[in-house]
Symmetry: C2
Subunit: 301 residues, 2 copies
Amino acid sequence: MELVVLGAAAGGGLPQWNCAGGQSSRVWAGSLEPQTQASVAVGSKETGYVVINASPDLRQQIILAPQLHPKPKHPDGVRNTPIKGVVVTNADVDNVAGLLNLREKQDLAIYGPTKVLEILRDNPIFEVLDPDFVKQYPLETNEVIRPIKGLEIELFNVAGKAPLYLEESLGSESGHLGFTSGIELRTSSSKTLIISSCAELDQVLLERISTADNLLFDGTVFEDKEMQNFGLGVKTGRRMGHLPISAADGPIAQIANHPVFRKLFFHINNSNPIWDNESDEYKTIQKAGWDICRDGMVIDL
Amino acid sequence: MELVVLGAAAGGGLPQWNCAGGQSSRVWAGSLEPQTQASVAVGSKETGYVVINASPDLRQQIILAPQLHPKPKHPDGVRNTPIKGVVVTNADVDNVAGLLNLREKQDLAIYGPTKVLEILRDNPIFEVLDPDFVKQYPLETNEVIRPIKGLEIELFNVAGKAPLYLEESLGSESGHLGFTSGIELRTSSSKTLIISSCAELDQVLLERISTADNLLFDGTVFEDKEMQNFGLGVKTGRRMGHLPISAADGPIAQIANHPVFRKLFFHINNSNPIWDNESDEYKTIQKAGWDICRDGMVIDL
């Protein structure tokens, strides 16, 4: 079984459409490869694949990933897909907008926290996913699903905040539970955690991380004030619900002594200098035993 | 002033994510170039650009169109864009989902028929477009706007149907007015019509077409039963609100005697054989004085 990084960048992608600063400027100038918005596919040729989060770039990501192409001479007919289901971890545009690409009367299962699926239901545009074909499965916290053979998925609560477009009604604090989730993937030979959004590394979460073989962790910002430092906006990483990589309570410091085999930053913002292999910040994460995800990376599970 | 074809394909794009048949199969096999979903940008370096319809592929389309890149050393700061506004002609996913890519606190104007903007308002997810930055302008039928210097845009009613996700409440008939619009672009030297969805070529529309220099017209299907013929689905072109290219009441027959300088099919479905230069259907449209749009094509206006 394998994990394919369909997109490694945080919301907005790299480059961001309206940004000539930060790391986006390097992409516009041609010196850094563009990266699409955070999503992974997990599965195998035999079992089919599950997509974790449906980024707005999903159509392009499918075209770039041969594993996810439909097959000629398929028993289902010319309309077929290796994608058996999608798990959404929160209701941010970055994680759900790609569902709109999965129209066209295709059998599919969508799994997500009850609260997240309720938010989708409040938006009639998602009714393009014809319920005769697309079944939604609301998940309780810590419920375990087996969407394809040989893969167990558990969603668990992570401290986060309400989607940007619901901040006015639900508040913008970062301590909320139930809006965002981490994912634990278990195969017969490994345990992998995907935590693309995390406002706080508490003891329970650190204990779960200590048992993982692979960790894909929220790498949105290196420094809390990075957006301001690059003139990209006024919000801090914490205000956006993300723990800065370099903070004392952040992943480098807190996960240092955990025996995770492979530690990768994922969901990396276009402001973050770790995109650049030559940066001091990239060297810092490397020294601490971390690397970054890039589009197309494959991890054996 | 120029018109840039950002995407030439109908909803789903070419290839369609879950389709190994029709023309999609040629793209998966590498013998036909992929095409993104229908959208154009109109403007110039001096005036900035207006995007007509926000396809789900808009982020990728901006990256591929140097005209739409943000600029370094811009008076607005590192966050800037040549995109001044977006006109949406109907509320189909194909035409509005791309608006979700235009978040990130950027001044922008969105124009569209009153009914279409009301549908957007019924979907809270579009509140990611912060109203402090993104202004919505509902348009009356035949209202003329001048979103950038030197360009007049008029929206006019075209027979069409309600968006797929609202068919249950609004009906699936194709005769409805108000759900879909054509666009007339007027510069000091030319008149261009963009009609990406059209269920009926009535006398009023034919008269308007006869005054145009350039015509981008609904090329969804060549034959009404094309989807069925390729085993791609049960719906006819007409059931989807699109007049078949080859029908007696369709564009080749009805627009034959109109002195339009340049006639191009646009919004072409992945089932349509005109994508293939070698097909009989492509030769038929060529003989009738038509060609097809492709991603990246530029037309001087």
